[in-house]
Symmetry: C2
Subunit: 201 residues, 2 copies
DNA sequence: GTCTATACTCTGATAGAC
DNA sequence: GTCTATCAGAGTATAGAC
């Protein structure tokens, strides 16, 4: 909805988006059906289409919400802060997001895997702009000898890759670990160790 | 085909599987259609179903082939070898596979993302068994002080995550890097640096 | 072995009663 | 605002000619 008015409209709209996130993140865009979303939402299929003009509109609404949430932790990396603290803070925040919002992580992964048809412009625009700015900061810290030298953009890729892996490949991680493990708690400790060793000047 | 006989059967069967890999890896199972696969293969839709009994049979055939290829580089890690050489060899081989077989990597990623409905048994079986065995080797090397101590299984996750990221998120990597980059060449150098720092005793 | 034609099901979306 | 009924199109799979 462009401008939800009543509370009931807002509530139903939110219910639909939450159900759609469940379904889209598990099956991808084309693998999901309005019937599935309607059932999870507890609403009829025509009622979904009363709130959103089409299946694609629901998907687009989710992706739009997503990108801002996605960029926030990186935005928070402060050029005035202590380099190691700022970077490790980003690593831990990103992992927390993977733990707390795995559906969003999978929705994003599905979209990128399939060539980012609906989100490529945003990646080439906002995302690249932000990454370029943060890379300049990282490079500055390296030039000052505050952290070990390396290609900054690949450091960022490594943070994304390692944190999102525990959300996107959750099924595999749990199957390989076996019972009696807490994947995200272990990941938190391991990534702390990994990035501290990597960044040590 | 359970038992391809003639050369023409083998050839068409391979053509279909190659086309199906193109389509399934780009759109996921449900997002792909027999029409798309038939067009890429240059065959008619009924002809596809002459060689394979169903769409799902084609997908399953691809996944079965996949798992062995997937496990080979890890199998090659030799307990008698020099620890750092063996591990770095695995990292580089895995990245080469991501570079040379990105479709296979995405097919696997799609399957895991969607809860591994058709491959979970293999992951809990063959894959876990192999990982457990290799973790024992890694742990032994750590106990000997040959490499730095860390949870072995998370080291393996890190290798998978970082190498596959460059194949699975290729679109995003290229969009963020911008023109004039060779993602896999840069990744090869960066991962070499990362894992050497991580493993240094 | 390969094609045209088609049966049948699923799915996105609309019409219209309430 | 929400529902039942339904349409139109896409998609998997089969029948049968060649």
């Amino acid at each position: 909805m462009a401008q939800p008015k009543t509370r009931i409209q807002q509530k139903n709209s939110d219910t639909i988006l939450d159900a759609a996130l469940d379904v889209f993140s598990a099956s991808g865009f084309r693998g999901s059906t309005l019937d599935q979303i309607a059932e999870v939402a507890g609403l009829s299929k025509p009622n979904l289409l009363y709130y959103f003009p089409s299946k694609e509109a629901i998907h687009t609404a989710l992706l739009s919400e997503l990108l801002d949430t996605w960029l926030d932790p990186l935005r928070a990396m402060d050029p005035e802060g202590e380099p190691l603290v700022e970077i490790m803070g980003y690593v831990h925040r990103k992992l927390e997001i993977s733990r707390d919002y795995p559906r969003e992580s999978r929705l994003f992964a599905n979209e990128i895997l399939q060539g980012a048809p609906r989100i490529l412009a945003a990646i080439e625009g906002d995302l690249k702009t932000l990454v370029d700015a943060k890379c300049a900061i990282l490079q500055h810290w390296m030039d000052q000898g505050k952290i070990a030298p390396m290609p900054p953009v690949h450091l960022i890729f490594a943070i994304w890759s390692l944190t999102q892996h525990y959300a996107d490949f959750d099924v595999q991680v749990r199957a390989v670990l076996g019972p009696g493990h807490d994947p995200f708690a272990e990941a938190d400790a391991f990534l702390d160790l990994l990035f501290r060793r990597l960044l040590a000047a």
